[in-house]
């Protein structure tokens, strides 16, 4: 039985970890919205000298969104997977927004989203990175997931291995190969994939 779009994050998470792939499509936007809200909140509220920690953001979103009494500990891995996707979209959307404004888009002022980005050139390369990651996912989905988890959700090699259910060595190797491949793509130094 498909879950309604209004289902809460906990139910969706449970459904997804039980193998219901449609739940994932409903989960990502909800997690996206919460992470987005939290990121802005902390960017504004944090006193100088604080560093925005991706993992701390993800932890907080988990506490806010998930009823921990209803899920098993294993849901953590599933949640991290969703959060990594959501973080990627938040950052890439922000970078695209900046790009659109520079090309004469409608928004005259710097959006909050863009304040998440460190420097304009980084924004441009994030969009390129995102495109390259999508291409990579079509031939090697796991490598693209490794990059999402390591780079966008800030997970360590061991944590990434736990989420994906593979060995740390595999993550290390995937990470290395994926970086070389992405670097070549974003630098435009090689043949099209």
């Amino acid at each position: 039985m498909p879950l309604p779009a209004s289902a809460d994050v906990t139910s969706l998470l449970v459904a997804w970890s039980e193998g219901d792939e449609t739940a994932l499509a409903l989960l990502v936007p909800k997690v996206y919205a919460e992470l987005h809200r939290l990121a802005h909140h902390h960017m504004r509220a944090e006193s100088p000298g604080r560093t925005l920690q991706t993992t701390a953001l993800v932890n907080e979103a988990y506490l806010r969104l998930v009823d921990t009494r209803r899920v098993r500990w294993q849901s953590r891995a599933h949640f991290l997977g969703v959060a990594a996707q959501a973080m990627r979209r938040i950052l890439v959307d922000a970078a695209r927004a900046r790009g659109a404004r520079k090309r004469g888009g409608t928004s005259p002022r710097v959006s909050l989203d863009e304040s998440l980005l460190p420097a304009p050139e980084r924004g441009a390369s994030l969009v390129a990175l995102d495109d390259a990651l999508t291409t990579l996912a079509s031939v090697d989905p796991r490598k693209s997931q490794v990059v999402e988890l390591r780079y966008f959700a800030g997970l360590s090699v061991a944590e990434t291995a736990a989420v994906l259910g593979v060995s740390a060595e595999t993550v290390q190797r995937d990470w290395r190969v994926a970086k070389a491949w992405l670097l070549r793509e974003v630098a435009g130094g090689g043949p099209p994939g």
Binding site: G19, R50, Q53, T54, L63, F79, V139, S156, G165, G190
Partner: protein, 832 residues
């Protein structure tokens, strides 16, 4: 580019990375011969080498300055400014500042001299926000009053609280010693040192809680060591004061909320039990040097906090007594109701651990006790027909020694397993983790009996004692007694009076009956259809000759229990027979630990009487603390009660006394998997396979571990290999059906389901496993009807239907109808 082509590129790229210089070019020439595109692809990837290491290694966020450069939390300019003093250099008219002691989350602390009372004090200044906000100020004073009411040797006394020049301050006893945090930074603490400090903190908390004062920020930095083993809690009640409260769970908070309880992390109401959680974290950190919830990257693992899943303490510190690990586990329960309910209960258990006693449920694996492995005696009889007797001698001695609390004895399976390995004494000591070994030989001809025995220290091979007995066959008990007495004496084991009495408690028995009994044991320990039958025959002949010989009745009871539990006989027939024999044994000998074990086994597996199950197994363990199998069974009881941490402790302890037992490793895989400790389950699985690759049970449980970790392909693979190793097809079907349904391979799952139902008519296929497969195919009506049948047919898996349904079919567990299943099973008290 296709995925296949990409894999080829990746393979060549990785191979090229592994070689360098000229060899790389040669290798590429060969690998890419005739494929210029491949060569170009790999070359362009290799060309990224100089930049790869740094690429994507910084956060995609703007990085601020490192947290260490941040201002102290809650800190602002006024807190850091020197205290305002009068013309005489005194603060508040009576305190002369001596030096700054430190600054931290709560403000700045100075050592000062109280010139009126002529004593040193600690003077602490809090955030100026408190003085500025009337509400916060009155709250601060109220908390300070409550804290000042505490008069306890383990609480740092609060003398005074006040405001001066817009600065809120506290005056406390000056403790001339480091904080526990500083002590831990110098290196982790020994067990006894940890216990001593933990008892002090628990005692201080107990007295504060009794006055209604909760600390809410117990952590090593808030514990002062007045002497190496005298701890005092400081900063009582401050965590609750508005404006001082550390923000919890916020991204980027500079302080690490590593000690906060799940209820704190989730912003739920807290009570005194939050302190019990935090003290659990502190004990853990004293022992391991690391916070239980810190990740390798220095973050706090909030997931682990809210689910109460700290990594096993013993993983970082294997020498910690299991009893102490169990105490920490019980502090770190995410479910408030499962935690210690009072600091005084925690204190009592810490004191028991210190005294070497059993805390609440788990008994300690004592590394400091004298330890021994009794090897099977060698059969030296002319025709080599006395193997059963040679093993029986050793087993009887193990049995007698295992009842002694002050001695650690390796159980039968492991002691006997080393026999065939041809190890020397030193290696045996290492494998079984013991300091002493007893070995001996048996020679018998007609009624004449010769037995030799040597007690050897494994370190140096020194013979502590050796003896030769030339006797009549009827003297066998006297010889066993003499051997055990010699061991107890030479190893300087302290005996309780009742143990001394039990050691000599042998009733006279006909040597022939006894020989039959030992033969029964011999066959019982080699479980196969054929040996079971021979064991029954031997025990049966023994009780026919002497109906009053309790051990033989207990043996029969145990055999029926094994047959029923492994589905080798119809449960409805086998269990009542087990009960009948066990009751007969107990009527003859109320202290038969084996019969009590069987009674507990029946109550747990068949009668579903949880109280009787615990009583029976616990009684068996009291009578025979070294009975590893009974302790393993106790683990299954604890799983039924969802006491997951104690369950882990029980199976670890069982393995400590029987470290080479495949059955216990099978139990360990099953218990850890069901408790959600998939990684532990899988590492025990590897060990189980090493010990006995042909033993099917662990494969089933390993598949559960993979399933609960979401690694479905591997779950299917492991049951496939289990099938090749003797795993019964019914168990394999249970996993495969669930996995295929979860993978969306519904046709395959439906075929498996049909097969299970079809076979259920002929064989003992578990009804519960049929229900789980049906549930994964979405047919809840069918699932519930099979759970009903499981109840009717007394399906053995129904014992843990609440635990396994959560793993296999959580949606089924959430269906309102599941409640009725739990009610019938009398499991509502432990439902999630």
């Amino acid at each position: 580019m296709t995925a296949e082509r990409w894999r080829q590129i990746e393979r060549v790229y990785l191979a090229a990375l592994a070689v360098d210089g000229a060899r790389r070019a040669a290798m590429l020439d060969e690998a890419c011969a005739g494929d210029a595109d491949l060569r170009r692809d790999v070359d362009t990837l290799l060309a990224q080498e100089p930049r790869v290491d740094r690429f994507l290694e910084s956060r995609p966020w703007p990085a601020g300055p490192a947290p260490s450069q941040a201002v102290a939390e809650g800190g602002d300019e006024t807190v850091l400014a020197p205290p305002p003093v009068d013309g005489a250099g005194l603060f508040a008219g009576r305190y002369r500042i001596v030096r700054m002691l430190g600054q931290g989350g709560m403000g700045v602390v100075y050592q000062a001299e109280d010139v009126r009372l002529r004593r040193f004090v600690a003077l602490k200044f809090l955030s100026s926000a408190i003085a500025a906000n009337p509400q916060a100020r009155s709250r601060f004073l109220r908390e300070a009053q409550a804290a000042a009411s505490l008069d306890d040797p383990y609480v740092c006394t609060l003398y005074e609280a006040g405001e001066e020049g817009g600065r809120a301050y506290l005056v406390m006893a000056f403790i001339d010693g480091p904080t526990l945090k500083e002590r831990i930074a110098r290196g982790r603490l020994a067990t006894d040192e940890t216990l001593s400090i933990a008892r002090d903190i628990a005692s201080g908390l107990a007295s504060a809680h009794a006055r209604g004062v909760v600390h809410r920020d117990i952590k090593p930095g808030n514990v002062l060591l007045a002497a190496p083993r005298l701890a005092k809690i400081t900063d009582f009640g401050l965590a609750h004061v508005e404006g001082v409260t550390r923000s919890t769970g916020t991204a980027g908070a500079a302080g690490t909320p590593a000690y906060m309880s799940p209820e704190q992390a989730q912003g739920l109401p807290t009570d005194h039990r939050t302190d019990i959680w935090s003290l659990g974290c502190v004990i853990y950190e004293m022992l391991t040097g690391r916070s239980p919830f810190a990740t390798p990257s220095g973050q706090v693992d909030v997931f682990a906090i809210v689910h109460g899943s700290a990594p096993a303490l013993t993983a970082f510190r294997p020498d910690v007594p299991a009893a102490l690990a169990a105490v920490v586990d019980r502090c770190l329960r995410a479910d408030l109701r499962a935690r210690y309910q009072r600091a005084s209960d925690l204190l009592a258990d810490l004191e028991r651990v210190g005294a070497g006693d059993t805390p609440s449920a788990a008994r300690a694996v004592r590394e400091d006790l004298p330890s021994i492995a009794v090897l099977p005696f060698a059969d030296m009889s002319p025709d080599r027909t006395q193997d059963y007797f040679a093993e029986g001698m050793a087993e009887e001695i193990i049995h007698a020694l295992a009842r002694i609390e002050g001695l650690r004895v390796v159980a039968r399976t492991s002691s006997f397993a080393v026999k065939s390995k041809g190890l020397d004494v030193r290696e045996i000591g290492r494998v079984l983790n013991v300091a002493n070994v007893l070995e001996g030989s048996v020679w018998s001809a007609g009624s004449r009996l010769r037995i030799t025995a040597q007690l050897i220290t494994v370190d140096d091979g020194f013979h502590l004692w050796s003896e030769r007995f030339d006797r009549e066959a009827g003297d066998v008990f006297a010889i066993q007694d003499e051997i055990t007495a010699a061991i107890v004496e030479r190893l300087a084991v302290a005996l309780h009076l009742r143990e001394r009495a039990a050691l000599r408690k042998h009733r006279p028995v006909d040597p022939e009956v006894y020989a039959l009994y030992l033969k029964g044991r011999y066959f019982q320990s080699r479980v196969s259809a054929e040996t079971v039958e021979r064991a029954f025959r031997c025990y049966g002949e023994a009780v026919a000759k002497d109906p009053t010989f309790a051990p033989a009745h207990a043996g029969i009871a145990g055999l029926w229990g094994d047959l029923a539990a492994f589905n080798l006989a119809p449960p409805g027939e086998a269990w009542p027979k087990a009960r009948e024999a066990a009751e007969r044994a107990l009527a003859l000998d109320p202290d038969s630990s084996e019969a009590h074990h069987t009674i507990g086994h029946i109550a747990l597996w068949y009668e579903w009487d949880w109280t009787a199950a615990e009583a029976g197994i616990a009684r068996a363990l009291t009578l025979n603390p070294g009975d590893a199998l009974a302790r393993g069974r106790y683990g299954w009881f604890l799983l039924n009660r969802r006491r997951f941490d104690e369950c882990g402790a029980a199976i670890r302890q069982a393995l400590a006394s029987d470290p080479l037992s495949p059955v216990l490793y099978g139990f360990a895989v099953g218990l850890h998997a069901a408790c959600g400790r998939g990684d532990e389950a899988l590492s025990d699985f590897r060990r189980a396979v090493d010990l006995a690759p042909g033993f099917g049970l662990p494969y089933f449980h390993a598949a559960i571990a993979y399933t609960s970790l979401g690694r479905l392909d591997e779950a299917a693979d492991v049951v496939e290999s289990g099938l090749r190793q003797g795993l019964t097809v019914f168990w394999a079907d249970c996993i495969l059906g669930i996995v295929r349904a979860k993978q969306g391979r519904r046709d395959e799952a439906a075929a498996i389901l049909a097969r299970m139902i079809e076979q259920h008519r002929r064989a003992s296929v578990s009804c519960a496993s049929i229900a789980w497969v049906a549930a994964n195919l979405g047919d809840f009506d069918m699932a519930f009807s099979w759970l009903d049948r499981g109840y009717e047919e007394r399906d053995g898996l129904m014992d843990w239907v609440h635990v396994y349904t959560d793993i296999f079919a959580p949606a089924l567990a959430r269906d309102p109808r599941f409640r009725a299943v739990l009610e019938r099973m009398r499991l509502t008290d432990v439902a999630a």
